[in-house]
Symmetry: D2
Subunit: 367 residues, 4 copies
């Protein structure tokens, strides 16, 4: 059974695996009238492309996108937008040796349990490489949201024990592009880079936290009871491979607080209703309140490490040991930034249409 | 637009609001052949019923459930199961005074922004009372899962700064029923109760953490890429009103770890494949691996407090102050336990059918 | 597995069976701001109520509707509207004798094959009585559409070999209410009534054709490729129990024509684009063109007849004979009229929101 | 808003337009373990390919399919199967002249009304060419069904006034491949071919009827109330561009009959429950009964004709006349045969999984 689709009206269906022929996405439900070309998607794909620095996997992929449908005379025409990226630098040699030995921390065992027949090369469709589909969908969503002055900004806030200092929301985008770690706090970014390289040398990997902020979203996004905006964001973000937790606003810190300390009180600023604080991260009771929407994800260390690990040989049903070769990221956080942005963008775009802020058929029609 | 449905095959649609005539749920997609009567649902509803101790709201509701359809000769017959609870102890007097003044921390402002016409009495459909629908659906899901030896167990692990010690999974259920806080660590439970009562006296409320454990689920549950088991659990749990964060297994702690420290290595126990540790909380790459599934939620303090708070009068568009009367829980965690259990049960039941472990039409058919 | 829901945004979930406790519907996705009370639904239910004339089943049901949720101060508030009708005049005695003998023309055998455990009393959820759910949903859809000057009108056009003459669209509603057959051609109506009574006397039943016309729908309704307006209408209408065919506009007659004979040419009337003919029945290429939408359904004779019929005893697996007692309609067409209207109304309402003509959250917001 | 997906578990999402870069489909929800290669799809595509005889459009397209994902070592692996066909022989010159003049009988006006920005070249995504997506999805569905001994057979039963005689179900497939009209009655096929060629000479086109038979489907397919098997088949078939009516079994003829004449009585044949007649076309009350499933569609004449027709210039809003050039089929029925087969195959495959007859994850697992 499926599960390869995100969004209810703005729907992104993705396909493809790490070592297959191509990876792609079909975006159905994008209104007509949106100016869009391959370059809009390419820019976002370049942000997640591997091999761009010392701290990412050495796999070399150009990740050049090709749009197959849905654009007419430079604009979306309301029909599905299909876009693909061919896999080029495929090296499956390392995987034959371990095809019956599930790698600790990887989804191999679950996939085998579920499907029986499993593409074990590079993790198959369980690979991080499938997030190309997220990014294609997200690039289109971002372009759509830009037309409504909504911006989605991701950045790394923690790697291992190193935590970034909070930076003004409007500067994050600029700052994160300046370093390979995608952290807006320069000093922390340097330390993080060192930590990642150090971890890499030891054949290990390290986790971290990524934050995604949405600026400009109106109050009123989110459907009660089971399709709350934060629920849909949590769903989408938890769908990214390495994510083990999602929180909104203060997140897990709310457990330690009293309501009198963290309730966001209302005020009027420049004629608009705002809150004095934003502990709720822009979403209360599942509906946006017009403040910045703040979501954070816990990203586990890439499970592929070259150190020896215990596992089981599924053929002989005996315990054994593996060492994982292949090419991997010592810390996936920097490359998850554009993926998390894309993912949130899809959800916000979807809810903008669902709530009637964007016309479902053509963005030029007043909604 | 809707959003009042949970699950893809085992689908729970809920309706009703805090001060309306009734609250209920329709469960569509439950296979035929499951023995079920009103008492099965009533037992679960009683766990979340208000007015049962000093630390819950004094609102008195019997919450007696009535099944309207879907049961024939004591068993489900594959048709939708509708069940309702009539609201009895409705007191809307406190809400007239604040109908144009959104309460800090509550969804009022979002609901008004979205729907214009809003039932402000007791939070309307944004009230915690709507979780009666979750519990109805969850009770049926639990009954279904019991037939497949799957148990869902919730407990409070933290209130304010007080953290419970870890208890053997098999004892949690028994222990939590012994105290009103629903904490399995007796000593912590006593401290938590004191803290809640103390907070209540001050007209304030306090947050906490609830954990839900699923025992007995097979490996192979969860659909890649966008309907991963953890993603669907996160989605469902984040859909509970006061929840601001969801994590699986180690959760946010993964950020601080190296893969070599937390990868769950495989071994063989009693002829079955298991992992030596369970840092991943039973789900890797979005698919269950046969280990206990462990999810935790961050529950914010009930925003309704009697202390004065700043807000805005939406009619005059001037800043003002409110004091919230009405009847409220000083800590919602204990009553969220059965709701969180129900929510997880719905997702697991749904995925059991989606993965082919439970026959979609009749549980007596071998699957 | 489910299947008890109609519509994508305006969603109607129904429940209940012929001899169970209650029958009802939950409408999720109706925008806020629509004035609605029980009487709006009751009027439509009364049109399909049994026992109102010689040509319907003698089962006496008041079919009094009770709204449980979704209305606040006389208007919808955007939350799910649940409404129920309790079954009163239940007489299951006739069914015990035939519980292992599937009735020819009835769904019994399919239900047993599918679900194993089957409520055989009065056809269970396969009974025509479940269309109460359709009518509840349709009554709300009709009320919504009225606000946008869209009217849905059904009438009987054929019973047996007797065909009604075409009547001006604007007079159909008035004329059909004048006779129990719901046929707008008075002369044909009289003949039809005679034919039905004659058929009834012989212990038999007769089929017919019902047409549903939608006036006032704008051009632009319908989603390509797999959710065309006519496809969704066909789906919904074929979902009514006794329907064996659906056609739009000229329908099956197109097979005998050349394009030059039946293409609807465009013209301008009162400043608006219209077609000179309406052979396409208001839908071309799956999208409405602003002309009246015309759908017709083939309704089979009620399979319950008192004449002896061959069947099989499922317990002994031997061939046998049955005579069906119980209370039945000699011709279901007149009572299908309000059901078919309701069904089409749900689809049109759903597509009006999906196409952006009705705001998804509140009808008072300009769309 | 979307609408480019068919099926609930076995889901086919299609994309692409007549004169765009490519046309394709993504099949999500096909179980793992099914042997599949490009040739399986190519065989079906060849059946609908244009330019193969005098009676089809002269557009020359190789329609060579390329599989991008979802196959590993010659078998499906449970991940989405994406397949595309590049458009080659694109000639858009004829369309510039008529871009503001909606063609009678074509969807142009609806598309413009709905999306504003519309790809008018060759009908864009409203073109019959998009049924390549249906056929890709259907080819995979057919392959899946073959494993369960289910066969889908389509044939032309009427062109204009010429009706084919009924032929033994098991011979239809063989006979239809012998003539370009795809009619199993050889004599009628010859007359039909003459009629089509004659119509073509006059610059006109002609309609007809296509029947699709499903052999080997078990009893128990179809979900009450709103996802009945016949409702889903009607929905899918009505989604094919030129279809104006769908009927099951006797179809519209039921209107003229009494129940005593057409009720299918049960009997036992070779130890299995069967019906003596099959007037219901294998589906009663929305659920299959194990007999052959028989569906028929009314196909309108291709609206593109070279004769002059009245229309409106949307720019000047004045009435005008057009003559349609381009390349078109004088009768679309023969080429609709494989499309209708594909469409029914998708629905049957979907329902086989939904009803638990095919395991959702791997076909080799006993279901």
């Amino acid at each position: 059974m499926g599960g390869n689709r995100l969004g209810k009206i703005f729907q992104v269906t993705t396909f493809g695996s790490s070592h297959g022929r191509a990876i792609g996405a079909v975006v159905d439900g994008c209104p007509a009238g949106l100016p869009l070309d391959a370059q809009d998607i390419q820019i976002e794909l370049n942000k997640r492309r591997p091999g761009t620095s010392e701290i990412t996997t050495p796999r070399k992929e150009e990740d050049k996108v090709e749009i197959l449908s849905g654009i007419f005379q430079g604009k979306t025409d309301g029909t599905p937008i299909a876009a693909i990226v061919y896999n080029k630098d495929v090296d499956s040699s390392a995987y034959e040796a371990i095809k019956y030995k599930p790698r600790p921390g990887h989804g191999d065992y679950g996939w085998i349990s579920r499907y029986g027949h499993y593409d074990y090369r590079g993790g198959g469709r369980g690979s991080g490489r499938v997030t190309i589909g997220h990014v294609i969908g997200g690039a289109i969503a971002k372009k759509l949201l830009e037309n409504f002055n909504i911006r989605i900004i991701g950045h790394v806030t923690q790697i291992g024990h190193i935590k970034a200092k909070r930076v003004d929301f409007n500067r994050i985008e600029e700052y994160t592009l300046e370093n390979p770690v995608r952290c807006a706090d320069k000093k922390a970014a340097e330390e993080m880079e060192k930590l990642i390289l150090d971890t890499k040398k030891r054949g290990d990997s390290i986790g971290g936290i990524v934050e995604v902020i949405t600026l400009g979203a109106p109050a009123g996004l989110g459907e009660p009871v089971f399709s709350k905006l934060d629920a849909d964001i949590a769903h989408a973000l938890m769908g990214i491979g390495a994510v083990k937790g999602v929180e909104i606003g203060l997140g897990f810190k709310v457990a330690e607080h009293k309501a009198s300390e963290i309730n966001d009180e209302y005020c009027i600023k420049e004629g608009r209703i705002r809150t004095l604080t934003n502990n709720s991260g822009g979403i209360i009771g599942g509906i946006s309140n017009g403040m910045p929407i703040v979501a954070r994800i816990a990203v586990k260390p890439t499970p592929s490490i070259s150190l020896p690990q215990r596992t089981v040989d599924l053929k002989s049903m005996k315990e054994t040991t593996i060492r994982i070769k292949g090419r991997h990221d010592p810390c996936i956080c920097p490359r998850i930034v554009p993926v998390a942005e894309a993912t949130v963008a899809i959800i916000i775009a979807d809810h903008m249409i669902r709530a009637g802020f964007i016309h479902p058929c053509n963005i030029e029609i007043e909604s």
